[in-house]
């Protein structure tokens, strides 16, 4: 993994690929790599869909090795949704295969001369960039079916659906899972629109004949990996809760905590929570012959994914995650798991961010385009997006644009990006992360739900402002570093609670790279990445005024606790003061 592949879509005649040594980016991976390249090479004032923007796809530092849980990939660019830097993170097979092909990053650059659509085929022999307009406006599922016929099943695909081709700000980049289904997505911030603007429909990754990446210190690495896996298996969240119930185990606990955003952030409790909970979902999956434990990439030991079938037993979609169950469910007043799962399938097929789309439909319902609770109407709104009708184009531009188009005041976005599944008035720590993250509202950027609600990594009262800034700061630093390693963020539950698992992770990193890796080094890496991102955003025109939640969170009390967001602006401005 010592080279960078650059694919310039702009040159006269035809797109050109070139390889270069990793150079100044040596030692970086994942979010560290994407944010460094974007901060150094992309002019911050450029148009996100123009020739100056770049789409960077980077596996983590440990991806492609035997390290458990190291299959995360980062996709970075200047975001069409926020106007700032973006790193969207995904599972799937992509990270492992790109890393084994030897690339620390694949960078799509330039702007094609016309609207020809391309597929990029990468294998050990090199890179082919092939025009193929027969792929136009295919959904991800139909596209992958067609690609499997051409390239077989021992490959991985990175692709966009119709939303990316239409350059919608809610468009995602899809990564196939081990069964070659396009179910894993770098969802946030419109990264799919940037891939669409580069004219690339699909990247075919074939690592046949390429070896697994090997560590510098094989024995130490093997031992540390073993201890790390044991740590993940013995922790009750990564060892039992997530495999049994998926991430949707959260619906009930967030509802009990009074923080489940319902009917476009009007309440923190949803009467229908039980019917869409992880418990009900798992029972339904089992009854229909689905699968309850499954990894999104090979080498996953947590296995939080699964298969959700239709009533007739045929495949519908993966085990729908909490963020989608919330966004298309309680946030739209919908208590029907089948309707929610259908929307997950449509989002994956069109290539859309489920968080952005659920929040957008919530805003559309508030505007009167459909009634809260009407699953069929919500599905029809989503289909408008896939078809690219004028209404669909507005919805596909996200919650902020939809709110503006329809005159809605309660629009849950920060820096133009929709809030995820935890109301910041009842989980104040996550509100600090939403407000200040370089990414726009993003729960994964500093998941304060841990100490605020779940009793992991300490305990901080979720309804008060005390301690939230420090909690969010520390988590934002640690998360930026983990996002660089290729590790799935869910290892956090085990490493926050179990010092021996944290140490095993450090040992894996140092045994693999041959460089020392201490807790201080991890903190320094996290800060360096955040500095790249903050610097880019400042040059793109962001000030502390963008590090704020929408006004209604400070003014409208949220039932059942009837609290407002109470962390002061001056405190928010201290998050990055280290």
């Amino acid at each position: 993994m010592d080279k960078i592949l650059r694919i310039n879509m702009g040159p006269e005649g035809a797109p050109k690929a070139s390889e270069e040594p990793i150079g100044q980016y040596a030692g970086l991976g994942g979010r560290g790599m994407t944010s460094a390249i974007v901060a150094k090479e992309v002019p911050p004032l450029c148009h996100p869909l123009g020739k100056e923007n770049k789409l960077v796809i980077a596996p983590g530092i440990l991806s492609g090795s035997q390290a458990a849980q190291s299959g995360r990939v980062s996709v970075g660019c200047k975001s069409p949704l926020t106007g700032g830097i973006k790193e969207a993170n995904s599972g799937g097979q992509g990270a492992q295969v790109i890393a084994r092909l030897g690339y620390a990053a694949i960078v799509l650059e330039g702007k094609p001369a016309d609207d020809t659509l391309y597929k990029v085929v990468i294998n050990k022999e090199g890179v082919d960039i092939i025009a193929d307009n027969s792929l136009k406006m295919l959904g991800n599922y139909a596209l992958i079916d067609k690609m499997k016929v051409e390239y077989g099943e021992d490959v991985a695909f990175v692709s966009i659906g119709q939303a990316g081709e239409m350059k919608m700000s809610a468009a995602s980049v899809a990564f196939t899972d081990p069964e070659l289904r396009p179910t894993r997505h770098a969802g946030r911030g419109g990264v799919g629109a940037v891939m669409g603007a580069k004219g690339v429909k699909v990247i075919v990754l074939d690592d046949a004949g390429m070896p697994t990446r090997s560590p510098k210190d094989v024995e130490k690495f093997k031992e540390a990996n073993k201890a790390f896996v044991q740590g993940l298996r013995k922790h009750p969240i990564t060892g039992e809760g997530l495999p049994s119930f998926g991430t949707n185990i959260l619906t009930n606990v967030i509802n009990e905590a009074g923080a489940l955003p319902t009917n476009n952030f009007q309440s923190g409790r949803f009467d229908g929570a039980g019917s869409i909970s992880g418990e009900t979902q798992s029972d339904t999956m089992k009854a229909r012959g689905g699968k309850v434990k499954k990894g999104c990439h090979r080498g996953c030991v947590i296995q939080c994914s699964g298969i959700y079938n239709n009533k007739d037993g045929s495949f519908l979609t993966k085990r729908v995650e909490y963020e989608t169950v919330w966004s298309h469910g309680s946030n739209c007043g919908i208590d029907d798991l089948d309707a929610i799962s259908m929307m997950d399938r449509l989002d994956d097929d069109f290539g859309l961010d489920t968080i952005e789309m659920g929040a957008t439909i919530g805003v559309a319902m508030e505007a009167g385009l459909a009634k809260f609770g009407d699953g069929e109407a919500a599905i029809n709104l989503l289909k408008e997006v896939g078809k690219g009708t004028p209404l669909g184009r507005i919805l596909g531009a996200g919650a902020a644009v939809t709110g503006q188009a329809f005159g809605v005041e309660r629009v849950p976005v920060v820096k133009g990006q929709a809030l995820p599944a935890y109301d910041p008035r009842a989980v104040q720590g996550i509100g600090v992360t939403y407000a200040t993250s370089t990414m726009g509202a993003d729960h994964t950027a500093g998941y304060a739900v841990t100490a605020n609600v779940l009793g992991v990594g300490g305990s901080v009262d979720p309804l008060k402002s005390e301690g939230q800034v420090e909690l969010s700061r520390n988590l934002q630093i640690a998360t930026a570093a983990i996002d660089a390693t290729g590790f799935c963020l869910f290892i956090a539950f085990a490493i926050l609670d179990q010092p021996d698992t944290f140490n095993a992770m450090l040992d894996m990193l140092s045994a693999f790279t041959g460089e020392p890796c201490t807790a201080d080094d991890v903190v320094a890496l996290g800060k360096k990445i955040l500095d790249y991102e903050r610097d880019f955003n400042a040059r793109a025109g962001f000030t502390s005024k963008q590090d704020r939640l929408p006004e209604f969170f400070k003014k409208e009390p949220l039932p059942p606790h009837n609290t407002t967001f109470s962390v002061k602006d001056e405190e928010l401005d201290q998050v990055f003061n280290w």
């Binding site: 949707n248 185990i249 409790r269």
Partner: protein
Amino acid sequence: MQKYISIRLFATLNRYTPDTADSYPVRPGTTVRDLIDQLGVPLTEVKLIFIDGVKGDIASALNGGERVGIFPPVGGG
């Protein structure tokens, strides 16, 4: 005097849910620990306790009218 609470047990603890969960009788002053013992829930499996949406603990006393939620360790994202 007999009072009533609503009790919800989630995830792997769901199997200990009593038939009278929506209207479970308690004597005022009953602690969450007493409740857990009555329901036969192994204490070691209890991680999170919510009383009317606010974090409680096993020493929290119940006076009737509360909504009690009990969870094993859970997490996701």
